[in-house]
């Protein structure tokens, strides 16, 4: 039952069958009502936040939550940067760029830290267990490049107003490419999470990852604050879009803070 994926694997192992049987009995074997679905998802996520198990597992789960929130942050950040092209930049916008750069560096350092365990994992035949998500992500990236190049060529033949809403055909193509970019980011993040769950990581290495997760979260928080300061100064027609994007940035930051908190708590255990 897909609904149970909201719960941690260890919890599903122990209670999954019982809960699935209860959900089936409660819904009379028919469609599961939304009320029940929401209740199960909420309880599953609460269980994830609470999940016990060895501190190393909790640290890893916390760090991976930060990685997932960073992916959501990047998607909203790209949309923010695209919208910001139309407005001027100032000191607050420089802070947005600096903080986003620090976050990117922290994530790249985090990836570099696991290079050796990743290499050992692949040499031990681990590719077989991760090839599907990695190939899916590679395919999505290839599709994005194939769609992106003609779009750039096309954009060079258009005027500024045509590139920014007056040519609906170009606008549609732009949305398709944007969807490909979002899919690529999502699929690479999924592949990274699937892989990271299988790596043999020492406690010291996990502590390093937890530190970088903290830096990433701090960078997300700084970016969100600086972005808010920037667009409140710019105002005008961008207001509604900026409010929505800031809400996504703030949501991703909150998720990152949750992951960092979990990793830090597990580190102290």
């Amino acid at each position: 039952m897909k609904l149970l994926l909201a719960y941690p694997a260890a919890w599903r192992e122990r209670y999954g069958d019982e809960l699935a049987s209860l959900i089936e009995a409660d819904s009379g074997g028919g469609r599961i009502p939304w009320r029940v679905k929401l209740d199960v998802i909420r309880a599953g996520l609460a269980e994830r936040l609470r999940s016990s198990g060895p501190p190393e597992d909790r640290m890893r789960a916390g760090v991976l939550l930060v990685l997932e929130s960073w992916a959501a942050f990047v998607v909203a950040g790209i949309a923010f940067a695209k919208s910001a092209e139309q407005a001027g930049s100032d000191a607050a916008y420089s802070w947005v760029q600096i903080a986003a750069g620090v976050g990117t560096l922290a994530v790249l350092f985090g990836i570099a830290l696991v290079a050796r365990p990743l290499s050992a994992f692949l040499r031990a035949g681990g590719w077989q267990t991760i090839h599907r998500p990695v190939l899916r992500a590679t395919g999505a990236s290839g599709l994005t490049v194939v769609a992106f190049v003609p779009l750039v060529v096309w954009a060079h033949h258009l005027t500024y107003p045509q590139r920014n809403g007056s040519d609906w055909l170009y606008g549609g193509a732009f949305l398709v490419v944007a969807a490909c970019v979002v899919a690529s980011i999502g699929l690479w993040t999924h592949a990274a999470v699937v892989t990271a769950r299988r790596l043999e990581l020492t406690r010291a290495l996990l502590a390093g990852e937890a530190f970088l997760a903290g830096v990433t979260t701090l960078a997300m928080a700084t970016t969100t604050v600086a972005a808010t300061v920037w667009w409140t100064g710019v105002g005008g027609g961008l207001l509604l879009r900026m409010v929505l994007l800031t809400l996504v940035l703030a949501g991703a930051t909150a998720l990152g803070a949750t992951g960092t908190f979990r990793a830090a708590r597990a580190l102290r255990a």
């Binding site: 919890w11 209670y15 069958d17 019982e18 809960l19 699935a20 049987s21 209860l22 959900i23 009995a25 409660d26 009320r35 029940v36 209740d39 199960v40 998802i41 909420r42 309880a43 599953g44 609460a46 269980e47």
Partner: protein, 99 residues
């Protein structure tokens, strides 16, 4: 523990004998008028089992009955005593106000 807290309702239900998840939902609805969601019920079952207040019995197909432990009975008694104190106090104050 408050009277409408899922752990309190589960302990009360199990005090009359072991039950599996669906039987618990139906029993709680019948005596408390509260329809717990399956996720809420199993969240509370997880906590109660971790605290040693209930324990699982052998699985019957995919369903697993639970029973209250001695520690669970003690905890329920203490919660009921607290609740009784509150009921008595509230009743006495209402009576005094209406006298």
């Amino acid at each position: 523990m408050r009277a409408t807290d899922p752990p309190f309702l589960i302990l009360t239900s199990l005090s009359s004998g072991p039950k599996h998840g669906h039987a618990l939902l139906l029993d709680i609805e019948s005596f408390a008028g509260v329809r717990l969601g399956p996720g809420t019920l199993y969240g509370a079952i997880t906590r109660l089992e971790q605290r040693g207040l209930i324990e699982p019995l052998g699985a019957d197909d995919r369903r697993r009955p639970y029973r209250i432990t001695a520690a669970g009975s003690e905890s329920l008694s203490a919660a009921l005593a607290d609740l009784r104190k509150l009921v008595n106090e509230g009743t006495a104050r209402l009576r005094a106000a209406n006298a």
